[in-house]
Structures are given as structure tokens and as C-alpha cells.
Symmetry: C2
Amino acid sequence: MSGNLWTETEARRAGLQRSMEREGLDGVLITQNVGLYYFTGSMQTGYLFVPVEGEAVFYVKRSLARARAESSARIEELGPFRGFGARLAEDYPDVFGKKSPAIGADLDVLPAQTFLRLKEAVPNADWKDASALLRRLRSVKSPYETERIRRAAQAAASALEDGLSRLREGMTELELMAAIENSLRLQGHIGIMRMRGYNQEIMTGMVAAGEAAAEPTYFDGPAGGRGLTAAAPQSSSLRPIRRDEPILLDIGCCIDGYVIDQTRTAVIGRLPDELMRAYETAEAIMRETESALRPGAIPERLYARSLEMAKEAGLSEHFMGFGADQVRFLGHGIGLEIDEWPVLARGFADPLEEGTVLAIEPKFTFPGFGVVGIENTYRIAGDGFETLTLSPEKLYVVVG
Amino acid sequence: MSGNLWTETEARRAGLQRSMEREGLDGVLITQNVGLYYFTGSMQTGYLFVPVEGEAVFYVKRSLARARAESSARIEELGPFRGFGARLAEDYPDVFGKKSPAIGADLDVLPAQTFLRLKEAVPNADWKDASALLRRLRSVKSPYETERIRRAAQAAASALEDGLSRLREGMTELELMAAIENSLRLQGHIGIMRMRGYNQEIMTGMVAAGEAAAEPTYFDGPAGGRGLTAAAPQSSSLRPIRRDEPILLDIGCCIDGYVIDQTRTAVIGRLPDELMRAYETAEAIMRETESALRPGAIPERLYARSLEMAKEAGLSEHFMGFGADQVRFLGHGIGLEIDEWPVLARGFADPLEEGTVLAIEPKFTFPGFGVVGIENTYRIAGDGFETLTLSPEKLYVVVG
């Protein structure tokens, strides 16, 4: 492991301990691969126990050798799962000697079956849902993390440029998507992007054109896309890209664990007037959001202001999806996962902090015609923000 | 939806009802995207309730429009989650009018947080873990499903051929992997492969060479690979491919929801003698397994026999991973997910049935040198088996 990540994961565990103390937790058990990586530097299979005071132990099932090489936390072999409670009691007598210690876990991702087994294996623990605490901790990124998001932004910008240079009338959404993915992969994209939400999946973003981009889907974003099959009902399809229709290029990639998310709109020829006006409204919403983007800004207010602007433009029904299929946010945190906190949505009232990284994505959906919009990733900085996305923000008019 | 899938998903729900009756369940709630698709033909977000008798309802949150277009089960809008219990009680008075109806759910994948909310929303249900029941149902594939696995096998065979034609000494694992992925994607690979196991992830398989292929990892398979980073510690790396070392090409893809999994070993030049002998042992294990592969065969016995053969060859410590990092199976079911049932492992004693599809993968790991082996996907047929994998089974000796 690089010295940076070693020091950093130690500091993250210390930060977790401070949060636990504030929230009255005696310990936290991290079970999810992304959480394990975040707090130890290793993604091997096992459980990380962090007591409110003292040293954490990463109990590893497999691969012990790899965990020992990667983790900044002390490694122990997990051993038989039914003995895990006794093991914890032995290693942490101060915690599990209590009558009913409050133990937090990442219950938003831990499957119920494993949770029920944990309850049996560690019978005196009073289990608490630590999901919100963990998501809040992860929302502020260190320079180490931001540097990786920057690298992902570079790969995405270069892949977009490469993709646009190949864009021709008549090629399918999938052909353009595959070219972009190939460029991303050769730049070190790990081949998957991670989402935390149950049942949420994401390919490497999507290229979607015309009415196919506007097809509604379960995907928790403003545009889902037609997709190749009902068994993967989102992202690119086999539809050919035509002239004078919006082409949505929502591109992500994951470099060294960190994701970027960016969207640009392109057209071969000319956008219909109504869609051009909507694109300009998306730009105006982006500028207005940027004007308020700084430490202290309230996420739900940024979202409320975007709703107002969509309404003033007469585009409420088209904003962030259409009608019943609208999503109720303007942006989202991004880091090791695509769908991090905070969300620019109602209910997110904690002020933004320096170091928070957000993807902001005003988009407008016109069923039968297409989706237009923009998505940039920002870092909240001392006196405002810094744009991490590197692709020039404009409507890309292509000869094709 | 095609007429086939309509009839088929109806039949699957009827099969589920027969299983529920046998196991004394009053109803089953399906929450996972793959399960929803399997039983309705639609992967939109919501909950499918199947009563032991009568009509199922798919309560959909988003997208209703798309679910209505895709699902063979009746669609209702989900509405506010806190009202879901009352809604079920109203729609299924015979079930929820009981004092404590036994309701199964897919607890192996449902997050604990959502499970705890469901327990509150549907207070009189006696929740049961239906994971095993659901996995058993899914293990036998219909002709409709097998046809899709065949298409995936075609794409994998063609991508392997394409990849091998580009293989050159000095190119990186990632470069070869990216070329294969590009071929798969253009043939309609949906861009992701699904695994059911918690924290398990898979790229499009892996290309891994020499000692990098032999590096242990958390991945629940015999070979993990070095990977690009500790944040994605498996699959291909930036290591250049050299002469006279084994190149493991473990290739998967997902066509119309169904996955294939196949492995071939290649070499530029000549394999070291010890690895050549191990490769031949993998072939011998494959032939021996095939000789017993038919309806009625017992999965754990097939595994036990492979262990014996590895031992006879003096290769026990190298079989299915090395030493402490060995996995304890010879193969696994495959379909909508990579890691389906049955597993060819201890504890799987139910006889194989006609229609079961299995990936069987004898492999040998030599730390510092590499991994050799084979993986084929088979369908259990009337009097034996049918090989679904289309790539010729041989050691691929490449000029490079």
C-alpha cells in the first residue's frame, strides 16, 4: 500500500471513532467491500470491527495473504463464523463485557440473512443502523481521494473526445458506447462502477439518442435509456443515431476505486428549438447552482432553486425525467460509489463542507424526442467550488 | 414482451406456488431485481407478492409505464411504503387475515435495513428465508433460458478467437482483456455480469498471465488475478504477457440477461513441464466429470472425485487455488447470475436434474508461475450432458 493510503485509512478510522462517540456507539462492524477498502485499504472478504476506543481488527476470511499486504488495520483470521461472537468478546472485553453494547453496522447493504446470522453469533449486541453515519463520513473527500476523481475525470474527457471523433449518423448507440468504453478501459477503468442502492446497477454510463434516451426506467437517475433488453433495461440500445436529435453522452468510469460522472449533449446537425431552449435552461440552472455552491450551502435549497427555475421556464414536467418518472434530486455525492451523500434533494439540510464532491446534473426529458442536459462533478472548495470535470461544457455540434 | 417469456414467467410463478405449498409458505415477496425479472419479465423497481394460491401482484415504484409494458404479472402502483402492509392485507385478505402468515423473502440479497422496514410495515407476517427455495427453482433452465446461454456462448467463442488473433508478446493483460470486452460488447453483452453473493463482483472475466493470475484474492473462484488496484483486487492487471507462461482466458458475457462462463489456457511458446502436466490433469478431471454427468448425478460426489484425481496427480495443494486460498468447489450453476445453484461442492447432495446448467472449472494454481485450467458450461440432458461452450477445448499455442 502507498504510505498515503496507510496514513489516510488510519485517520479515517479515527474519524469514525469520533463519530461513534458522538452517537453513543460502542463499536461499528463494517461488512461491505467498499467500506472495508475505505477503512483499511484492503477489499478482501471479512469483517472490520472498530471499537469506540482502541485498535480495530480486520477479521479476514479470504485472502489473508492479500489482506496482510494491503491493510493498515491489524489482520486476524476470521475462523468459523459461529465462533465470531466469542472471538469479539475475547478481543474486546470492554465492549462485549457490557450488558448490551450498541454496535453499528452498514445495514443498508448487509443482506438480512447475514444480519440474522450475526445477531445469533453475537447475541448480546444491540445492533444499530450505522448507514447514515458512514455515508456522512464518506461525503467529504481527502486530497488523496480527489486526486483519483481527477484521474477519472481525465479518462472520461479523453474517452468523450475519442467517442465524438467516431460519431457518425447511422451508427448505433451501442457502437458509440463500446468505443467510449474501450477508450476508458485502456486508460485503466476497472471495468465496473459501484452503486450502493439495492438493485441499482450502472454500466459505464450511456450513450442514448432521441426517443430511446427518454424511455423511463427503474434507474435512479433522470435518464435511464432504452437498453438492450428488459433484462438490462437502461443505457444504450441498438437504435441508430440520427440527425437533428439530442445525443446524451452520460459517461462514467472508475479509476483506482473512484468514479466520475459527467454528461454532455451532442447533435449531428441542429437541435429542435424546444430542446435547444431546454438545453439552455439546463445551462442556466448549472450557473445558478454554481453561484451558490460553497461551504455552508444547503443541498435541499439548491434543489428547490432548480425546481423554481424549471418552473419559470415552463419545463417543470420535463425536469429530471418526465411526469411520473421524474427523480427528485438535482445531484449526488460521488466517490467510491456513484450514489453517495449528500443528495441535492429534500431532506438534505446539513450545510455542504469543504471537500465534498458532487455530481450535479440538470436534465430535461421529452418523451418521443430525447433528453438534453449537462452533468459536472464539483469539489466544494474554500471560497466556492472547483470543477473536476474536464470536458468543455457546451452543446457538441458534430458534422457526423 | 415476447409471447414465450409471458407464458414462461407465468409458469415460473406457478412453479413457485407449488414449492411454497410443499414448504408451508402462505406467500413469497420477491424484492431483488433479478428475481423480479425471472418471475415477471420486468426488472423495474418494486415488490412482487406471490400468494400460495391465486394471482400475484407486482407493486411497482418506478417505472410503472415500463413495468406495464414488460410484466406478465398484474401491475399495481406501490404507493407510500408505510402503507404497504395495509395494502397487502387488503389485496390478500386470505393470507394476511391469518394470525401469523408465513411469508418467504429473498433474505440472502435483501438488505437488513429494508428488511427491518418491511417487518414494521407488515407487522403480522412471520418472515421466512426463501433464498434456498428460490435458488433451487432457478437451477433448472427452460429451453428459452438455454437458448440465451447458447447465444452468450457464441459471443464468448467469437470474442476469444478475436482476442487470440491479437495476442502478442509484451501486450498487457488489460490490453488483451479490453479487446475481448470490446468484441463482446459489440455482440450485445449488456455491459455487466451479475453475481448474487454479497460483496462479490465480476468484470467480464479476466485475462491473466504468469504469476499475476496466481495472486490470491477475495473473489469466490479458483483464480482471482492481480487486478489494477487494491480497490478492484481481481482480474486483469497492467502486467505484460510474456513467452512460455500460462495465459488464463476466463471469459464471460451476458446476453439478454443470461451469462456464460468459460476458460481456456493459452501460451506463446511452450508451457513449463509441471504446468503442462497440471493442464493435462485438468483435462482428465473434465473427462472424468463428464463421464458421470447426467440426471441423478450427485454434485458433492463429482467434487469429491475431482479432489481424488488432484491428489492422485500429487496436485492437491494446487487444485482450485493454492493452499489457504483454495475454494472448495469444482463448478457452479449459471444463468441470470454467475453464482447460481447447484454448486459442485460438499453439502450439495440433491441429484442433478435435466435442464440444470453448470459451469465446471478444474484449475491449478502455481504461485509465482501461473494458473492453468479449463472451464466449460454444460446442460444436463436426457441421457448425459450437452456442452454449451463453443470454443474448442485445447491448450492454445500461439505464435504471438
